[in-house]
Symmetry: C2
Subunit: 202 residues, 2 copies
Amino acid sequence: MTRDSGFVLWFTGLSGAGKSTLARRVEQELAERGLRVEVLDGDEVRLNLCEGLGFSRADRDTNVARIGWVAGKLAHHGVAVLVAAISPYAEAREKVRASVDDFVEVFVDAPLATCAERDPKGLYARAMAGHIPNFTGVSDPYEPPAAPEVTVHTHIETVDASVQRVLDALTLRGLTSDPDEVYSSSEEEAVAARLGALGDLG
Amino acid sequence: MTRDSGFVLWFTGLSGAGKSTLARRVEQELAERGLRVEVLDGDEVRLNLCEGLGFSRADRDTNVARIGWVAGKLAHHGVAVLVAAISPYAEAREKVRASVDDFVEVFVDAPLATCAERDPKGLYARAMAGHIPNFTGVSDPYEPPAAPEVTVHTHIETVDASVQRVLDALTLRGLTSDPDEVYSSSEEEAVAARLGALGDLG
């Protein structure tokens, strides 16, 4: 059974903070609850929708706006859309928030030193050596959200704990349910369950 | 009730051939049948996903590829996606076809003279006066589909007739049903209907 109204769950933070890892884990959890889920990863979107855009503020803002436009379309049709994108500028994120019915912002917070130590793509080393201009956190700004719905501290909490806090935030807003409750969350399912209790009338 | 599998219904043809008119009418019909429907109009997509792209073959192909990517995402989540875009190059359309499970191509065919006479945006007059380079059908090529699922001839048939032929093509492929049959098309609806006949057990 699919929910009728989708939402946009937006993970913002530095490269290496854990956005994609978290998004993929939350994706699994939501899929198990019967939601339609789509992950829009910053890198994938750049390839498919933003080839030719660079890393100036204007180009980054365009990138975020395009992700937001696609996310909004999907959410409008009942999809739980998980976006993992650095999205360093608060104003661009706020524009997306204003354009979407249910927008939940997750600040994936980890100190720059931690991200640089993880350096999954080897980019921090190059950026710190001065080889990458416009690298967020090193040679380009990152504006933390002023009032995110959730902040996770990936340098001091486990992935499981972060996932749970994101799910709690969604549950609090009625955007997902505890897995044990999912069969009572829809009228049709309740009808089918009651009918089942009466035996097979088909 | 929403279908589980969406599809992409792609209207291609010259400017003024009737793509948007048809897409909007088919949208209404499908919405009345209970489908989730999204219309991606070429102009709207250019504004939101393709600002900066021009009308060279490469840029047109990129435009079509981006529309196709978004359409595929939506269709994957059960949406009936109606695309109205000139999409003049066969190869670009075929790439989208190859990337989508259910792709139904509608060739919206009308002679250039008819489109130029309609000229809803006043563009043909300017193009024919030599003021618009790369104007499809005048100063830029249009490659008709070799084997579209549907061809509608908007200069000799009514809009109603064209709409009906598009709907017939969808019905033939099991992508929509006759409106009178829609309530027997889903298990849950059938269960609810049977339960309704037993009286209110809630």
